[in-house]
Amino acid sequence: MRKCSINAIDSVFAKIAESLALYLPVDGSDGKATYKKWENGVKWSNALNTVKSPKEFFFPQTEDMMEFKTSGKNIEIIDTREETEDFVIFGVRACDVRSFDILDRVFLTMPVDSYYASKREHSIIVSVACTKPSETCFCKAFGIDPAVPKGDVTVWKTETEIFFESNTAKGADLLSKIADLTEECDNAPVEEQKEKINKIMAKLPLADLKTEAFGGGKTEQYFDHPAWAELSESCLGCGTCTFVCPTCQCYDIKDFNTGNGVIRFRCWDSCMYSEFTRMAHGNNRLSQKERFR
């Protein structure tokens, strides 16, 4: 485990940014945090989390897939993919780190989504432990430990210091880059923080949330539960939940005619939309209740 003073963090960022693109949560004018590329003067946000999850680094909201150009009556297909440079996502929370596992299960199992895979390969994830979870947090229910987030490097932030620990070779490599700015240390303050977080977690309103009711053969049992009707009653079908969700991974593939050719791109889709999975015969989710469920 290595550490540095909290005041030194900007120079750590500067060091990383020398060789890698570095992204981290930054406060916006509206008080909400978003991931932004680090450059001199950009400050790491204290916010608990960003509005949009970092899944966007691997699975952007819109992503060009290929391009067609026509000349006369011939069509040329252009691969618009570019080699991704290595990049660091700094300050990812435990829950978001876990979401990558879920996305990986979708995008990295056969057939592998090469667009996703390429970005995933080039990424170095630096997670950060939570110290002040919100009342809306329920990560424990999914077996996520907010005090020990996964990722290539895990970071703990105390009042005065920042602690680093690498979990992977990529992570070790990153830490070696900033070795000059950090020093080896013991993990006592980190352990102390972990304990504190666990106590807070127990106090959260959703601490007792259990997921046992779902999964396995129980889905059917709950499929026609009246709660769906009740819950979907006030749903407007806006889709915000799916767009901010770190694990929602539905997308739509569309063509855009630029006038000089056609760009085929994919963009996020949401199961909350009435158009979602609409097929020639119509839609298999007929009302907001089905979509909500």
Partner: protein, 664 residues
Amino acid sequence: MQRIGVFVCWCGSNIAGTVDVQAVSEALKNEPGVVYSTNYQYMCSQAGQDMIKNAVKEHNLTGIVVCSCSPRMHEATFRKTAAAAGLNPYMVEIANIREQCSWVHKEMPIGTEKAIILGKAAIAKVNLNTPLIPGESPVTKRALVIGGGIAGIQTALDIADAGFPVDIVEKQPTIGGKMAQLDKTFPTLDCAACILTPKMVDVAQNDKIRIFSYSEVAEVGGFVGNFDVKIKRRARYVKEDVCTGCGACVEKCPMKKVPNEFNLGMDNRTAIYIPFAQAVPKVATIDPNHCNMLKNGKCGLCAKVCAAGAIDYKQQDEIIEEKYGAIVVATGFNPISMDKFDEYAYNQSKDVITSLEFERLTNAAGPTAGKLLRPSDHKHPHTIVFVQCVGSRCAACAEKGKEYCSKICCMYTAKHAMLTRDKYPDTEVYVFYIDVRTPGKNFDEFYRRAVEEYGVHYIKGMVGKVVPEGDKLKVQASDLLDNKQLHIDADLVVLAAAIEPDKSARPLATMLTASMDTNDFFTEAHPKLRPVESPTAGVFLSGTCQGPKDIPETVSQAGAAASKVIGLLAKDKLTGNPCVANSDELMCNGCSSCQRVCPYGAISYIDKEFRMPDRTTKIRRVASVNPAVCQGCGACTVACPSGAMDLKGFANEQIMAEVDAICK
């Protein structure tokens, strides 16, 4: 996918001079959907059109793009060509590479480049064209003529003559209008009554014509071929079908001091009256404002003397509903009020009169039995001053006069002057004029006769003021040619008052959604080529409601309007313009935005049952466009937030495709 043929026209050198037509047809060959592309010297020629027809057959074309002159020129031509080749005429688009390309750009490369882009835009549009079939609606074979003056009478007679039933709505108790009040008519000087009254009788006797006199149009709904009209028949307190017009009631009526409007108030009539001897229908009418029986229930003399038992004091206004295929507006004119012309002392002296009053004064059936006597003292006037352009050509003050020329005054004043000198040679007659306007057959000769043969003093100049002094009227005027100011002691001053549309025209125009100009004259669909049609389909214009005109002109326009009506009524079905708005009921939410902007009232709402995706049904209010009424302006399409409303032939997708093609 369409199979499009592109035909580039050289228009001789008009296009080929600045546009490389060969390059254009080559470049457009590769556009999506294009299977054939060629160019030719004159595409609109018979040979050119044959070329298109052959290409349609040979290449199985489904769409045609002609790169040529403005669509305003030859779109119709090429649509007919397409139709002749078995294509839907609306599968043709024109790229305007002449007026908007070769004629405005000088350099060949620039012109060619633009022509190619315009061609691409037209191709992009045709790719999205769909065959359009004009809607059809049945035609009610009955016409309505609003106004029973000479214009309305002539129109009604001509329509009836072609075998179609016609109804005339006249707000006065009799038809006849202004012409019935005239004495003689220029330039032939036939007596107005002698030529008008036989026509009135014809109307009365024609079994195809119904007269709703003393009636007004209360409401107009529907559209061309299918108007629904409510006519309000005002209570005349006399049963029209029973009254024989014997006049016994008029004789006995004790209320004899009612100003007689037919003689412009220059004498009196009774409370129950027949406007004039030749009135049609010749039926008595009780004036409720003056009848003692109706006002306070005391009298009832007329009912007692009526042998036919036609009097009915309890009669009520009645609403008649009728369907019509066409409506003719013939609401006519009135002289403007002289109240604002203090300088002419019209309101101060009885001996300052308008020309229409002069007509009554010289009419044998008028208040003086045709003798020209001054209204004030019934003496014969020896010096008469006629003033032209009173309120006409007056641009200074809208409240006072009218900016336009009233057209008829020069001629009737010449007539009045001439007739006065003819009957009373001892009278000095002065006519003050700004210009004498006499275009018309035998018109100028007529005016010259007044000057040369009858010795009327025509003076170029204007009357500045008229001051009553004793029994004389002191007239101060200018003589511009002599550069003198004249002072004439006149016995009678006659003002050629400007004419204006009848006051009922404006509310009627609103009911008909027919447009009017700022002077309240009805606007014609085209000032030259469609002079008797209103822009509102199925509404036609006859007579002075459209603009000042004399009797011959009115009669010819009345005939023209009738022929248009006959042309319309002769059809069993009307085919409309297929480029009309269309609402996608699945998307429409019935918000009414479109209805509010529709200038034609073409949009209505219906409750329609929809099958929902979850297999339930739902009743929703949705917009429905009447294609026979819609003129295809597209105002509704932009008012519609959901895009449910679209315009056929100019659909959102089509215009966007053009934008895309242009902005490549």
